[in-house]
Amino acid sequence: MLKISIEKLNGLFKAVAEKQTLYIPADRADGASEYKKYEDGMTLSKNLNTLRSAKDFFFPQTENLADFKVEGKKIEVIDIREEAEDFVVFGVRACDARSFTILDKVFLSEPVDSYYKNRREHGTIVTMACAKPAETCFCGTFGIDPTEPEGDVSCWSDGDSIFFRPNNEKGQKFVDSVSELLEDGDTAKLDETKAQTKEIMAKLPLANLSTEAFGGDTLMEHFKSEKWAELSESCLGCGTCTFVCPTCQCYDIKDFNTGHGIKRFRCWDSCMYSDFTKMAHGNIRNSQLERFRQRFMHKLVYFPSNNNGEFGCVGCGRCLSKCPISMNIVKVMKALEVK
């Protein structure tokens, strides 16, 4: 397999960044990591995953949809869409890579969301296999193998070298563009690393979490469960889980009057917010219980019901470590699966 030694990795980043924008996970002063635009001298974070997911690249927190000019009774619509520039996201983990498949099902289904599609077409995703999963990881529950990440190009590290495998045409193009930096390498040590990771995966505290009790056919059973009251009682109704989640995709469309025109923009929204379903004549989800239930029902029941059994969660564990009151999908699943 093609590889590059870890010492030379920055050279590869430099070569990529010369041609297109490159984003890599980089460390922040507070110890967390986030995707940053690659600049000379930046090093790849050693953290397992970034604080925010990689969905921002394709579905940013806010984006402008259209502009309007209003003059008297006249309205003019200005289509501000532009072809996106090519970019590469390096170091996406297997869980986040799967989240794109889930987002695709929403945004690329008819009618196609051209804003998302545009960025999706121009972005190359280079994934990186995990070697040291954390206690909060449960991607295995959703059939994701962190040692075999998806994406346009898959990468592995054996501690000395990074191995590359293109998975499609876009990935091949990426590998070709840096081929002179790559050499053929032996994967014996890599196979060992993979085996070790798999062993650790089996020992993780959430390794036995199962989705068996969920899916489209369990809709009414779970909806009517009495456990929601207890599960949701301490929920603050903030949007932390939603906004760090790689698969949460609900959005709001709003207008902003700039004083010399109207900007219609779209921004992330959270079903946990009290005004999410508020209408002029009332609100169908008035209590935090109903809003809390909506989020987990969407991931565990509604989404699989509409998407051939695929769940709306990838087990990245972000909500497990970020929820202010530590209530999360794992606790919900464990509570609901008990009959």
Partner: protein, 323 residues
């Protein structure tokens, strides 16, 4: 300590003093503890926990809970009692419907700080004096307790409970802390440096509203940022102005009412030091209008609901500190 709390909770339930207990519930790991309400001794035995990670301030839940039928037992750490007092003063809780048991805290740990050391796969934590042993699936790691201590406990303002019906353990004293150090450090920077500091911090904000929703002083029924009629409603900060706006107004609205419990910074998923904004107001109030600790009592007038004829003019801002 946990045993003493649990047995007292069961006693108070059994003798009918209260019909429910608000406390903390064990999670999946050693550190993911959820505030919870317990109604029976069995539930308490099964899940009640009070340890190094039970840092959540449960006083805000009492806004709702104290209006329900029957008295509720609340275990409050020292900083939580300040929040409750402030809520009592603002008539947001029915204090008569709450039975407060003050409990001591020798500082809570912050798992984020442990993780920031590169420690992962945490399965358990043991505290022996100043040394913390973190058990992980990759083997044991040790670090000093001080390094893992949550920021809010590092600058603890008081070990004295300001309201309680009974105490477990000894009451402490108001502590003299260095809590304004960082505020001072910022004040001594140049305007440009401060601007850069805050832009770097506030640009991380994802507008999850956790700081607002967890804050025991933020109890408006409808926040100005949720109200479409306010003209400033926004869900995601579309640009730096809206980031600044949200955080200025959030901190301003609790100025003079913020007890400095530190929950805003604790819950921030982006680790923004939001408490510095609140502390800046506290420091200004202390120095301009006299020492004031919100939540220390239930009768004093809040600094922004009060005035004297010879208050300083706003121009004082121009006259002091670094430009």
């Amino acid at each position: 300590m946990q045993e003493a709390i649990i047995s007292r909770a069961k006693q108070l339930l059994a003798d009918g003093t209260v019909n429910r207990v608000i406390g903390w519930k064990r999670g999946e790991f050693a550190y993911d503890i959820t505030p919870a309400i317990f109604e029976s001794p069995e539930e308490i035995d099964a899940d009640f926990v009070y340890d190094d990670f039970t840092s959540a301030n449960v006083s805000k839940y009492l806004v709702k809970e104290s209006r329900k039928e029957g008295k509720i037992l609340a275990f409050l750490k020292t900083c939580d009692t300040y929040s409750l007092n402030q809520l009592t003063k603002e008539h947001r809780v029915d204090r008569d419907n709450i039975y407060v048991v003050g409990i001591p805290s020798d500082g809570k740990l912050d798992v984020e700080k442990i993780k920031a050391k590169g420690i992962t796969g945490i399965t358990g934590v043991e505290r022996n004096g100043d040394i913390l042993t973190v058990k992980t699936i990759y083997g044991d790691e040790t670090m000093s307790v001080a390094d893992a201590m949550s920021n809010k406990c590092l600058s603890c303002k008081s070990k004295k409970h300001v309201t309680y019906d009974e105490l477990i353990g000894e009451d402490g004293e108001v502590t003299d802390t260095n809590r304004f150090d960082m505020v001072e450090k910022l004040e001594n920077m140049t305007s440009q440096e401060r601007y850069d500091f805050w832009r770097n911090e506030l640009s991380k904000c994802i507008r999850c509203n956790a700081c607002r929703n967890v804050c025991p002083a933020c109890t408006c029924e409808n926040c100005v940022f949720n109200n479409p009629d306010s003209g400033v409603e926004n869900k995601a900060a579309a640009d730096s102005f809206e980031e600044n706006m949200f955080h200025i107004i959030r901190a301003f609205h609790v100025a003079g009412r913020c007890t400095d419990c530190g929950e805003c910074s604790r819950v921030c998923p982006q680790n923004i030091p939001l408490h510095l904004l609140n502390r800046k107001f506290i420091k200004d109030i202390n120095s301009l209008y006299g020492e004031y600790q919100a939540g220390a009592d239930t009768t004093s007038k809040a600094p922004l609901n009060n005035y004297t004829f010879d208050d300083c003019e706003a121009s004082i801002v121009h006259e002091r500190g670094v430009e």
